[in-house]
Symmetry: C2
Amino acid sequence: MSFTIQNVLIPVDRAYETVDVQIEGDRIAAIAPHLEPVGTLIDGRNKLLLPGFVNAHTHSSEMWQRGMIPPVPLELWIAELYDFTPLELEQVYLSAIGTAVETLLSGGTSVVDHLVLIPGQELATIATAVRAYRQVGIRAFVAPLIQDEALAASLPNGGIEREHGDYVRSTAATLALIEEAVNQFHRPDEGVNILVAPTGIQLCSDALFAGCIELSDRYNLCRHAHLSETRAQKLLAQEKYGRSAVEHLKQIGFLSDRTSLAHCVWLDDADIEIMAATKSTVVHNPLSNLRLGSGIAPILRYRQAGVNVSFGCDGSASNDSQDLLEAIKIGSILHNTTDFDYQNWITPRQAIEMASLGGAMGLNLNDQLGSLTVGKKADLVLYDLMNLSLLPRTDPIGLLVLGRPVNVVDHAWVNGQSVVANNTVCNVDVNQLKQELFNQSQWNAKRQAPTVAQLEAHYRSVMGLSESTLGYS
Amino acid sequence: MSFTIQNVLIPVDRAYETVDVQIEGDRIAAIAPHLEPVGTLIDGRNKLLLPGFVNAHTHSSEMWQRGMIPPVPLELWIAELYDFTPLELEQVYLSAIGTAVETLLSGGTSVVDHLVLIPGQELATIATAVRAYRQVGIRAFVAPLIQDEALAASLPNGGIEREHGDYVRSTAATLALIEEAVNQFHRPDEGVNILVAPTGIQLCSDALFAGCIELSDRYNLCRHAHLSETRAQKLLAQEKYGRSAVEHLKQIGFLSDRTSLAHCVWLDDADIEIMAATKSTVVHNPLSNLRLGSGIAPILRYRQAGVNVSFGCDGSASNDSQDLLEAIKIGSILHNTTDFDYQNWITPRQAIEMASLGGAMGLNLNDQLGSLTVGKKADLVLYDLMNLSLLPRTDPIGLLVLGRPVNVVDHAWVNGQSVVANNTVCNVDVNQLKQELFNQSQWNAKRQAPTVAQLEAHYRSVMGLSESTLGYS
């Protein structure tokens, strides 16, 4: 299929230009003013064309709990999340569809889903998410979330050794599962990729990391994990290894130019140097970091050190949405409070590049994706500049990033295929999706999470907080 | 006019209840399950009813420059803003309409417009904004922005005395203007209020403050100003008065229970005590504070000290939108990074109360507005819980505040009058508004602001920043 977007605004250097863009098959074939029209014609007047963004870290099934968990830090939040994790494949399907829809409608054409697996139905969970993403047509990076330690191990012990229960699945079984998932589902040419994705040092043994590295090398897979998200995790790394998590991951060989690491809030200068030297990518999830009180990641310092940074929404239970434009806005302006010198602040154009080319780089695909370049894949988004939220006419990228765009995605394409047309997702009946989300849920202002009650006293003690007088519940 | 909203969800204690709500005239007449229907019937099923929020600080005409000004601190940003301030009454009209529309569609039923006046057409500017707000039907608090010193006076001098040009209008003429505006436009019963609103200590003499206080007392007007927004303003107050701006405003008698103060980023503990003792209200503008790098206002400390806090969008050139739900979300979760003890964090229900009752309190109208209470004015918003961004069904207020709602306002009423119906603003042709905003603007990636170039070297020097190597342009 070929098509030509005519008379569309694109950013060029520090200005804009009106051009035609020809797409042939899955590639950008030409960009220039007044091209000979080829294939279907798309009217690009009063519209802005940008490369699709990468939602570089999320957990799709958290959609079922968005808005629900009260404001508490990660270590308690996750206990509540796990107590109510969806256990039906139909739920996994619907929330993957929902995550893809919200990502597409906020400028994303790729999604990295650090996918929570239903115990006992692990491969079926992965198959279900892959099916959902293939249906929507979004470029999918499915990163099955794996661990081999039980949740209580993720808290620092504060000097007191604690017994941790065994995890439900052995390290070897987990690695075999991932290898099977690669064999069944890893089809980069078809827009479906499997990543090795241990959840992080807080719940994974070195053996699990080593197995992931081996699979990554053997099958040429990207690597993904959480890294140093909270102060508790920083304390834990010192307890476990006597060094920072970054130093440990470097020592065991997990860091590389195809490794992306979500959060990276609590890194010091030595850690940042390691991130730069290993060409690892930081995935910044600003809304989640604020919502969970994790802290403000030192994004300006990463950029100064030459570390690649991209944006993620994180799961919908810690955000509580999947709007990439919101993540890009807050992930840019938040850091203006961390450096008095505004010459270091992130400009809207830099933010756009982080979200597109930076995202592609974190997936080792920057030669294929992430910019309006002839020969690259046609993962493109066309924004409607006649939308009220993008008026009056000022600087289109400035307003797209710094404003609060509402329903601005007019068209989107992945691999040259139309996935959004006329502000409507092409391959999903959104009314039916809404009805199914409605049918499978209930309003509930207050629920009781048993695991949180078990963990809270220990958490407060080890984090130096006074004894709870209110209680979590 | 009377109407009954049937079977609608409202928050009660820590839960929800399904009730009918009767409105008679401009008041809430009854709230209970299964009321006898009165007047027009509104189907409230699968909808949430909340009191309208207050957009407690904005500058409507900044809409013309939203998305345009690069990421720089207030003191340089404002110079660019002023260089390109709209000078046509038609622009004032359109941006007031746009500000009202975006406020209504994000849950606001009241707006405080710290209105920039066109030199030489001051009263006409106020008349134009009043006309726009009356047309839309939003409750309007028009706060003409006044000053009696020229812009260069707003920078600290760093020990070197600098000559400042005179301001275009005398202090006496400015006060006479405000009194005339009160006589012509201040009609609280009709939903139009005039406030005395010196821009702040950075550009106002004590004589101007004294005149405002006198007008406020004589006509029972609320008081509004910017306060301690940036580090530069904090330095300036010490230079000018040898004490903090809060101490100075207390001494001259400006602080009161009908005084609301925008920003309050750089207050210390003594200042906070004064704010509490004088019952002054802090208007938190989180997006503007991030965008301009002003800092993170100590909102949790205000709340602990008993200071009333409400939310504002601030003008669209420093936000760059007028979405109150976005301001409420970021203004809540941002502060989770400032206190390790999550028991102090703002919950979604608290945020809703700050935005409604807190907003009303800052305008000395908490006996009339800000809660679902029989006898209070019917300033109400009905949210569509079948909207994709509010699904699945979890905790409706949790998801409204922490999610990223898109087009969720189904109905809104001000003074019992319908202002939004079926997600459409009743009294504005939005397509025509868009066309007029489009016609009166041009896309422009880069413009030159002469005043910025004049100020930048001095700003960098006095703020201790290294000599500019990039330059603002």
